[in-house]
Amino acid sequence: MTRLHTILLLFVVCLGLVTFEACKKNDVQLPGNGQVGTPLAFTIPAGWPATAYNFDSNKITKQGFELGRKLFYDGNLAKDGFTSCASCHQQFAAFVTFDHDFSHGVNNTFTTRNATGLQNLAWTKNFMYDGGINHLDLQPLAPLTAPNEMGETITGVLQKLQADGKYRQMFTAAFGNDQITTQRMTRALSQFILMMINNNSKYDRVMRNEASFNLAESLGYKIFKSKCTNCHTEPLFTDNTFRNTGISINMNIKDVGRMKVTNNPLDSLKFKVPSLRNVEVTAPYGHDGRFNNLDIVMEHYRSRVINGPTTDPLVKNGISLSNFEIGQIKAFLYTLTDSTYLTDKRFSAPQ
């Protein structure tokens, strides 16, 4: 090897390093975002409205879905290496934290709101009880970085993923190369979450003429349609609006709800109307989990509504409900339990 050869060799190596150094930040997203993989069909159930989520920029693939599933169940994403999305969103409880008003974050912390169930989120526009998050893809960034949830930084999460060969392989399978970005991570999580469609309850089967309500259920459905459906609108059982149901402020948490993000006093104590699907397994209820069971919720609407300045007109005078009617409504609400959803292996921890 001559001296020239050595210099040339050194030069090529240096040039490579220099190019890498200068260019590594420069990846530009390609049109069509370079997604690869096997498409997974997303089917809108018959009679359901159009989705709020726009699938054009994030098509669901088997590989993206599986990556999202792994991320969802991975406690290593959190600061403590232990708390995963699934720690607070448990499948057997329709993805709320079973039997908890508040959930546990890293370092023995508590959240300040009751974990909401995860289902049919393709039809949701604004997320959280206050609607502060305006896109499903952005939603995971809040729990990942909240000090009383997973307590990490976005950069910290990305570094952990980049250091993991299995993830690099799965990102390549889903997106064409092993570049791991915030956008890809959150889109993969969305792919997993979007597939969580819950439409196999007894109610759904009755609507499809595959089953029929018993007497209590059908009476309950009638009462429900006359007294509850304005806010808990079928088929999603929420109209996705924010309302004050006549609650008192929680003096410990001092959560003003929607007003927190709008700064508008007219939004004080307004919280997102929750879906009633799987309501049987998601106790306790309310944004702070103040209602231990459905009877207490009914009692609230019947006799405990506070007629404050922002209380919703639909409930400000309470809802007249006899004990008999409450029994029928509950019978109906139990038909909203989709047991196939609670046990669906696709949404369980990957093996």
Binding site: A22, H135, R187
Partner: protein
């Protein structure tokens, strides 16, 4: 032999410089000319250096820690009246010298007006997770109340009433009534008209004065407002102030 080494060295430098330009996602016409925008941050005329202590126009001392802002929606008007738009988003970060240089390819060589948005337009605030300069990992995005921090100034000050003497201005908000982006326009006439020479690159030199945040349309004292970290009326006051922070120093036609 020496010549080869020099030539190779030059090539390496060129590759490096060539790639540097691509830090910026390029938009608009990928024209044959290039225009370079240089941003120099200042404090009432003095160069801004992080870690240095300055005085606000109200003689309040503050030691700067962070100074960042977004530039987007760059538009140029040719001398014949045509408007050219650049689709890139740029985060000017005092901590990263290279971020203070924006290089854009343009299709004409004569321009007499430049306009840009200080901040990120509402579309990008409502379209999910973005990449590049807009990646939420850059720390310029609110995760709990979706939206970009358009501009950020962090410091410490003995007059701050916060326990750690913190001064923290994370100015954002994109909704009607809370929109903290500001439109910036400069007319480039006379010796400041852009006339790019063949295969050349003209440079527009701007300064951005951090002290305008405290005093312009509104008087904002650290002692009364040490913190602004959410959209709303106070953020709008800061935005009206920083709308005046840019000054055109000169245009260099090379």
């Amino acid at each position: 032999m020496k010549k080869i080494i020099i030539a190779l060295g030059l090539l390496a430098v060129l590759v490096y410089l060539g790639c540097q330009k691509e830090i910026l996602p390029l938009g608009g016409d990928n024209g044959k000319y290039s225009l370079r925008l240089n941003f120099s941050n200042t404090v009432s005329g003095a160069p801004l250096l992080l870690g240095n202590t300055y005085q606000t126009p109200f003689s309040e001392e503050y030691t700067l820690k962070t100074f960042k802002y977004y530039i987007s929606n760059i538009r140029l008007r040719t001398t014949s009246g045509a408007i050219e738009t650049v689709t890139g988003y740029y985060l000017i970060n005092e901590e990263e010298p290279l971020s203070k240089i924006i290089v854009i390819p343009v299709s004409s060589n004569r321009y007499n007006q430049i306009a840009f948005l200080l901040g990120v337009d509402s579309t990008r605030n409502v379209s999910g997770t973005q990449t590049g300069a807009l990646d939420p990992a850059n720390g310029m995005f609110w995760t709990w109340n979706s939206g970009y921090i358009m501009a950020k100034l962090e410091a410490t000050s003995p007059v701050s009433t916060e326990t750690t003497n913190k001064v923290e201005y994370h100015i954002g908000g994109f909704k009607t009534g809370q929109n903290s982006t500001r439109q910036i326009n400069f007319t480039l006439t006379g010796e400041n008209e852009i006339a790019i020479k063949n295969n050349g690159s003209s440079q527009i030199n701007f300064t951005a004065d951090a002290n305008t945040w405290f005093k312009a349309a509104n008087d904002l004292k650290i002692v009364t407002e040490p913190v602004c970290v959410m959209p709303g009326a106070l953020a709008m006051k800061f935005a009206d102030n920083y709308a005046t922070m840019f000054k055109l120093t000169n245009v260099a036609n090379n």
